[in-house]
Symmetry: C2
Subunit: 385 residues, 2 copies
């Protein structure tokens, strides 16, 4: 199949492009390099050095003999986006090309507006591009488990059978997201469901858990194929950050008591989930939702796991929670859709964490300590601007 | 109380400002005159002539002895918005200042993007302005009954008690909006609920039904105080349009078989609902939702009512439905919140329609026939651009 990966220069977009190419698909990546700009803005950097996109695609060709085409531009530029879709003629589009950090969206008004404008309008342009150019294109959209929040009932996959006053309906699962970033994904989901309804588009919305890990079989083939590894408090995800803190001999910083439970997924499962979704498209008019996660753990449990696995001493430090979220809550998530398509999860009880210690060890001279501490406060967003 | 009415030059914003001023509140209006620009763009015009904003406020002063302050600018201009809120120091802000036509949002990609960008970012800027300047300000936000769509269960006021697999939670009512405009209001509602949660703001979200009528006791005091009366297929609401078609001797154009049922509200009740919400503010941290409608009717029933009341012969014509919506459906809406605050509804069985015939009769030389026919098609939005 011909697959266009939007945001294909990013943490997950790049390994996804490699995985799909490795499995025999014709792949192109599209990116505006916004993620690299956020590094400049924040004074942060990937722990593992990454190459520019053309070096990456050249290296992949050298290593695998396969080509990955490149489109460099912005989804907000409709003319560019329509041109790329017309030129590549994909049968599936994987959409990673959004600002994806909750803390970044909560820095201040400008960052909240930037996040919602960038994500919602980019996605709207994409829906129109698909509808106008080829409504048979399958949209595979990255959402987040954070769209759901932490309801006191089981979290289903996107839809909920509701019984109320003796009548029934199948409704979009009610969302209670926890940041302006998470809200942007909820807005996207509503817009996509509508587009499926009125234009008979086919879409898969992937509500992804917190991703951990930095290597896939393809990125490990050559240092030039490495994907980014973020450890800063704005873009770094929790398990990756704990691993880095352990290696540096710093305390693992748990927000609040760490009773917040989150869905998790190994980066190798992420890229495989995308492949499964792409190769098993939603039907015309179908808004299909999968919860793209493989297990749930509390933040405290994640910290204890990292401390337990690390060969040296590790301290756990509880910080005031900079976010506004429920400290302890019910959390039971259905995630059988992707398993039904064939996913064989890598669980945290595998050896992955040990390999992450090695990656961090080899790059620890690149860490800027100041970037590990949270600086963005949910309640304080309005005080700083 | 000091009340700032955003969109105070519009169809409902202006009568609301007059009503609040008449009831003794200190009122200011803020507007960027976008609604007047849409007329220029579409070649349409209010059936009843309207004056510019400064003439309106001067006339109100002449008639009532009361002043209404004016702020002219755009919510997307955060510096202007923050300045206006700092300057006027309202205790409540009534927010009508959004693009409010479903067909307009469905014209093409540019209009969909414009609508969501304008509405979502304007509202986000407003949330930050309130949080930063005075989180005690009560936000009274205009939403729409169209956010809900037509679920097969009873429509509650914004929140739903869900029981699922033996557990319970109170959740935001699941929405299924019918246009990119309606979606923008759903996005707003989610953003506002979040702001109440993290910043302890106080907000009332008014899911308003289809408004009919053109006069309130205040606008009728002087021709210079008249509010707009839209009859075109893009901005005209259904009952107003039927009245005009009847007076012109044209068939009433029912989309499809007219089985679509909608909530309705008299313009005099709209302004009163706003007063009741303003004078009975939501609590700190409360996201309060009212369904601002007084009765439900199918489009066919509305057409038959107008035909029945009109003194001359009236034909009803069924057009292919340009929208994508359920032709027949369950529709049972709870709308007791505003009645609980004291609303005494004007129902359609009152004499209002007859007075509308007179208004239209006096202005029928101003009608441009071509504007009455639908030109925007939901499925066709992607074919025209």
């Amino acid at each position: 199949m011909r697959v266009l990966v939007l945001g294909g220069d990013g943490y997950l977009g790049w390994p996804t492009a490699l995985h799909l190419s490795d499995k025999g698909h014709e792949v192109a990546v599209l990116d505006n390099f916004a993620r690299r700009q956020y590094d400049v803005e924040l004074g942060a950097e990937s722990l593992v050095p990454i190459e520019d996109l053309s070096t990456r695609t050249d290296a992949w060709h050298e290593v695998s003999g396969k080509r990955i085409a490149r489109y460099e531009g912005d989804l907000l530029d409709a003319e560019f986006l329509f041109g790329a879709v017309r030129d590549f003629r994909p049968s599936a589009i994987v959409h990673f090309a959004e600002q994806r950090s909750a803390p970044y969206s909560m820095i201040d008004r400008e960052h909240a507006v930037y996040t919602q404008h960038n994500n919602v309008v980019g996605n709207l342009n994409l829906l129109y591009a698909i509808a106008e150019i080829d409504p048979d294109i399958h949209l595979v959209k990255l959402g987040t488990m954070g769209e759901y929040g932490t309801p006191n009932i089981d979290i289903e996959e996107g839809w909920l059978e509701v019984e109320h006053n003796g009548r029934r309906d199948r409704m979009l699962y009610p969302k209670k997201p926890g940041s302006f970033y998470h809200l942007s994904k909820v807005h996207d989901s509503h817009n996509i469901e509508f587009a499926c309804r009125i234009w008979d588009l086919r879409a898969t919305d992937l509500n992804q858990g917190v991703v951990y890990g930095q290597q896939t079989p393809q990125t490990a083939l050559d240092p030039r194929l490495a994907t980014r590894f973020d450890y800063d408090a704005v873009f770094g995800t929790v398990l990756n950050r704990f691993v880095i803190q352990a290696v540096l001999g710093q305390p693992l910083t748990v927000y609040g008591k760490g009773g917040q439970t989150r869905g998790l997924i190994d980066i190798r499962d992420t890229v495989e989930c995308i492949r499964l979704a792409v190769e098993n498209p939603a039907g015309r008019g179908e808004f299909r939702v999968f919860n793209q996660m493989t297990e749930s753990m509390s933040v405290r449990e994640i910290a204890e796991l990292v401390a337990d696995r690390f060969p040296g001493p590790v301290q756990i430090e509880n910080l005031d929670n900079p976010r506004v979220e429920q400290p302890e809550h019910y959390y039971n998530v259905k995630h059988t859709g992707l398993v039904g398509l064939g996913l064989k999860p890598h669980l945290l009880s595998d050896t992955l964490i040990e390999s992450m210690f090695d990656i961090v060890g080899a790059n620890k001279h690149r860490v800027n300590d100041e970037r590990l501490r949270p600086t963005v406060r949910w309640r304080g967003a309005v005080e700083t601007s």
